[in-house]
């Protein structure tokens, strides 16, 4: 591990700037806001997966006094368009009469009333009439395209990545040159983000402008969607993030839907309206990780080198396109893994079904494709009879190597460092067979995993977004960071204060990070894609430096040249009024990406990680206990080691949960376990003590060398844990999740394997 080099406040475990408010309960989340006179909203939803909306009947016997009902007709009547604008505009805010109902729980109408209880009661008296049609509930059926949901083939997006070959025939020739080919099919399940604060938003209108405040990751996504929906310009809507109780991707795109609903209700009600989801509604209706099936072929030379990789990735996008193309893009860009290979073919498709749309969740497609290649590499090591970690060390990409898209790795390549960190931390393997404290026969196994994750947006994405951030010396003499990057628990506000403070020679508590609001902060791009620290933190650093330079120049002109910022800031502010420096993203030199061929530098830089998991399996009950989990992550530079560690550990447990415990069940297109009783996530009692190794191989274009860390810890631990289960039992498990019943169902196979060994 690289030495942590304190640079002022950077590199130190500074307590969170929002920490006191959070530990004392003073932090105000959207449902905590006191909005005098506010009504409460509720959403009328579809009970069928696919159909046509014939009518929305209001119970004539119900007293509709003091109840506002909104339908799709209200949108056009006010000059708006009935769309939730994202990549495309295929998703309506409310299903219009005669329009297609595309999934269970799709929003059909809205009600608001003075109390929550009244709103929920009124909702039961709004009765949609829907003519049901046959539904498409799996990707195979979608690809048969007998029922058309999107275009002619139900394919939202298709990508092909080719390295080292011209066409399929050339690829097959290369694969045919392999000494051995390992083939596998790897389904992975949907996953619920399960932020502990359910989604919610409040709206009020004033002088024809709509003010929205709520739980969200991306205020400017909401802002853009509202302009189309409300038929207004950028000044017509102001979007403010309230303190947000977790997102993990789940509050990337869905808040635009809730914003649309609450804005419509508030306009019609003529008063503030709050729309807070119940937990069951949140689980049932909002986005989840895309279920995915990957067919993978790994061609090996006799000496174990990889000669060709072939992956076919199919994701279930759900009923609307939402962010699916981007999730698929990230999935396919990571599907070959961080391994040297001259010939790679990756084909990816994301298809339309009548499930509620799947969407962003930490990792964003990469966990779905990391699991397959890491199972494949493990199978290869076993076939070759070599140590799985040493095999990965041998094949790992290093500086000078090229990725599947032909990107040559030059700087900040932490592959060897993270693998070495795991090798050092590994220690002896625990005894394979044991008897538990309760007398159960136990079998232990060890699994490793090695993976990478591109930091920031793909390809030319960051240039397209052209994110901006401002650091200002206010007229009152305070230093403010203004960006639209939201703190959703990951510590953005704290690291921005540290970065700006380091540039200006100030303690972080002297830097105020402004709560993101579209009328106060520039668009820094969305809070996604492991980009907040690296990209927006970089903007904050540049803007702070520019501010420091300007103030230093003023100081020089006024006979105080060379004086520290802190000493002259008040005088400068008094003399100049507000001084604000806004900078815009500039790509690092030499970043070339071709969207047409999917070749070139997919990301400015990659984070690297490796993970080791020891499991113990109760051979009676098939329960798996994670006894040890070590993750080493190359973060470039830990701006705040405590916050980075917390980020990594949180992602690690989400990944272990996805691999071994969590499961979203669908039945007839409905989420069949839409409660925290039945859709479970790990408790304190299910988590092992997590070991985290921070590796720092600096990224020359990141703030103090930092690069992305938000998502990478989600990518690998599930594969490491399942590799450990396979190691213990001697039979393959090629699915996520591996639950006790998954193991129990193959008892005969692993019993036989165990007796042989």
């Amino acid at each position: 591990m690289a030495e942590l080099q304190p640079a002022g406040p950077v590199g130190r475990p500074v307590p969170r700037v929002d920490g006191v408010a959070k530990v004392t309960g003073a932090a105000h989340y959207v449902d905590d806001l006191d909005l005098p006179g506010a009504w409460h909203g509720a959403t009328v939803r579809s009970t069928v997966a696919h159909g046509v909306l014939d009518a929305v009947d209001l119970d004539p016997d119900y007293d509709w006094t003091d109840v506002v009902v909104v339908t799709a007709a209200d949108i056009a009547a006010a000059g708006g368009r009935n769309v939730v604008t994202l990549i495309e505009e295929d998703q309506p805010a409310l299903v219009p009469l005669g329009g297609r109902v595309m999934h269970v729980d799709e929003a059909i109408a809205l009600v608001a009333a003075p109390t929550r209880a009244r709103a929920l009661e009124a909702r039961r008296h709004v009765r949609p009439r829907i003519s049901a049609r046959p539904a498409v509930l799996d990707t195979d059926a979608a690809l048969r395209a007998e029922v058309k949901l999107y275009g002619d083939d139900n394919v939202f997006k298709r990508f092909v990545i080719r390295k080292g070959h011209g066409d399929d025939a050339a690829f097959e020739d290369a694969m045919a040159g392999a000494d051995r080919i390992i083939e596998g099919v790897y389904p992975t399940a949907a996953q619920e983000q399960m932020y502990i604060e359910p989604q919610g938003m409040a709206a009020h209108w004033e002088d024809g402008r709509c003010f929205l405040v709520g739980s969200m990751q991306c205020p400017y996504y909401v802002h853009k969607a509202m302009k189309a929906l409300l038929g207004c310009d950028g000044d017509g809507v102001v979007v403010t993030q309230a303190v947000t109780g977790g997102g993990f991707g789940g509050k990337e795109e869905y808040p635009s839907m809730i914003a649309a609903h609450v804005a419509l209700l508030a306009r019609k009600a003529g008063r503030p309206v709050k729309l807070i989801y119940d937990r069951g509604e949140d689980i049932a209706a909002t986005t989840k990780r895309h279920p995915c099936v990957t067919r993978h072929r790994l061609g090996l030379a006799a000496d174990g080198a990889i000669v060709a990789i072939d992956a076919d990735v199919v994701m279930d996008g759900g009923a609307y396109l939402t962010l699916s193309p981007v999730v698929l893009s990230r999935g396919v860009l990571h599907a070959a893994g961080p391994y040297r290979c001259p010939v790679v073919r990756i084909v990816g498709r994301v298809v339309a079904t009548n499930h509620p749309p799947h969407g962003a969740f930490r990792g964003f497609g990469a966990p779905q494709t990391t699991f397959p290649y890491e199972r494949q590499i493990d199978k290869a090591a076993r076939l070759l009879g070599v140590d799985p970690l040493a095999y990965r060390q041998r094949l790992a990409l290093r500086p000078g190597d090229t990725t599947a898209t032909g990107q040559e790795l030059t700087f900040s390549v932490g592959s060897e460092a993270v693998l070495e960190a795991i090798a050092r931390a590994a220690g002896p393997r625990p005894a394979r067979d044991a008897v538990s404290a309760g007398g159960a026969p136990v079998r232990r196994g060890r699994g490793v995993c090695f993976y990478f994750h591109g930091s920031g947006f793909t390809g030319a994405g960051e240039q397209r977004i052209a994110g901006r951030a401002t650091v200002a010396l206010t007229a009152a003499g305070d230093v403010e960071v203004r960006s639209s990057s939201t703190d959703i628990g990951q510590g953005a506000a704290t690291i921005f204060a540290q970065i700006a403070g380091a540039s200006l020679g100030l303690a972080p508590e002297r830097v105020r990070v402004v709560d993101p609001s579209t009328d106060k902060v520039p668009d820094s791009g969305p809070t996604v894609a492991s980009r907040t620290c690296m990209v927006v933190g970089g903007l904050v650093e540049r803007a702070a430096r520019a501010l420091g330079t300007r103030i230093a120049a003023w100081a020089g002109e006024h006979g105080r040249g060379g004086a520290p910022f802190a000493e002259v800031a008040a005088a400068a502010a008094a003399a100049l009024g507000e001084v604000a420096e806004t900078v815009q993203y500039e790509p690092p030199p030499g970043i070339e990406w071709d969207d047409a061929t999917y070749t070139g530098a997919a990301y400015p830089v990659f984070g690297w990680a490796a993970c080791l998991v020891d499991v113990a399996i109760d051979l009676d009950t098939c329960e798996v206990t994670v006894e040890r989990c070590v993750q080493a992550v190359d973060v470039g530079k830990a701006i705040n080691p405590m916050i980075v560690k917390g980020q990594i550990e949180g992602g690690t447990l989400q990944a272990l949960g996805w691999g071994l415990l969590e499961n979203v069940l669908y039945q007839d297109g409905k989420v069949a376990n839409a409660s925290m009783t039945n859709c479970i996530v790990p408790t304190f009692a299910d988590a092992p003590d997590l070991e985290t190794v921070l590796v720092e191989v600096p990224y020359p274009y990141g703030p103090h060398g930092a690069k992305g860390v938000g998502e990478i810890p989600m990518d690998g631990p599930a594969a490491a844990a399942i590799n450990a289960v396979v190691d213990a039992l001697g039979v393959d498990f090629d699915v996520v999740p591996v639950l006790p019943e998954t193991i129990a169902a193959r008892r005969d196979a692993w019993d036989a394997a165990r007796r042989k060994s």
Binding site: P13, P15, R16, D18, G19, V20, A21, K22, V23, T24, G25, A26, A27, H28, Y29, D31, D32, D34, Q193, M194, Y195, I196, E197, P198, V243, T244, G245, G246, G247, F248, D278, R279, I488, G489, Q490, G491, M642, I643, K645, G646, Q647, E649, G650, G651, T652, L653, Q654, S675, M676, T677, V681, T683, F684, A685, A687, D689, L690, T692
Partner: protein, 167 residues
Amino acid sequence: MKVSLEVNGAARAVDVDPWRRLLDVLREDLRLTGTKEGCGEGECGACTVLLDGAPVNACLVAAGQCHGRKVTTVEGLAGHADGGAVLHEVQAALLACGGAQCGICTPGIAVCASWIVDAEPIGADAGARARVRELLAGNICRCTGYQLIVDAVVEAAQARRAGEGEP
């Protein structure tokens, strides 16, 4: 129904439907919004408060059940000295150890942890971490992986023992 109860050391009276949830009484009638609702079913622990000193899920308690009883919420943990707030040991430790991220589960965890350090002495032995995990198992956190929270509660328990003059 008139319900008299003591909230964070102060006598309070509310005139509410006896079947109103304690959670709503706290958040809406008394404007103590530190207590959060994560599920409304007793599954997540975000609404944990102490009722007569023992942790309960405020989303499952009816106002009528609280008449004459003492309620402690996250707002009641910090003390006051020299005109300023003094964080409770568990609040200080959660802050120092990085045990709060998004913060929505933090009030419930702070309240439950305050009960742990008060009522369920946590030693410095090897079993301390497992004991903390067992006692906090009714509080779900999705951000932290729990590690830094366990660190914080073990540290707070040590601070408490040191404060009480134990080695």
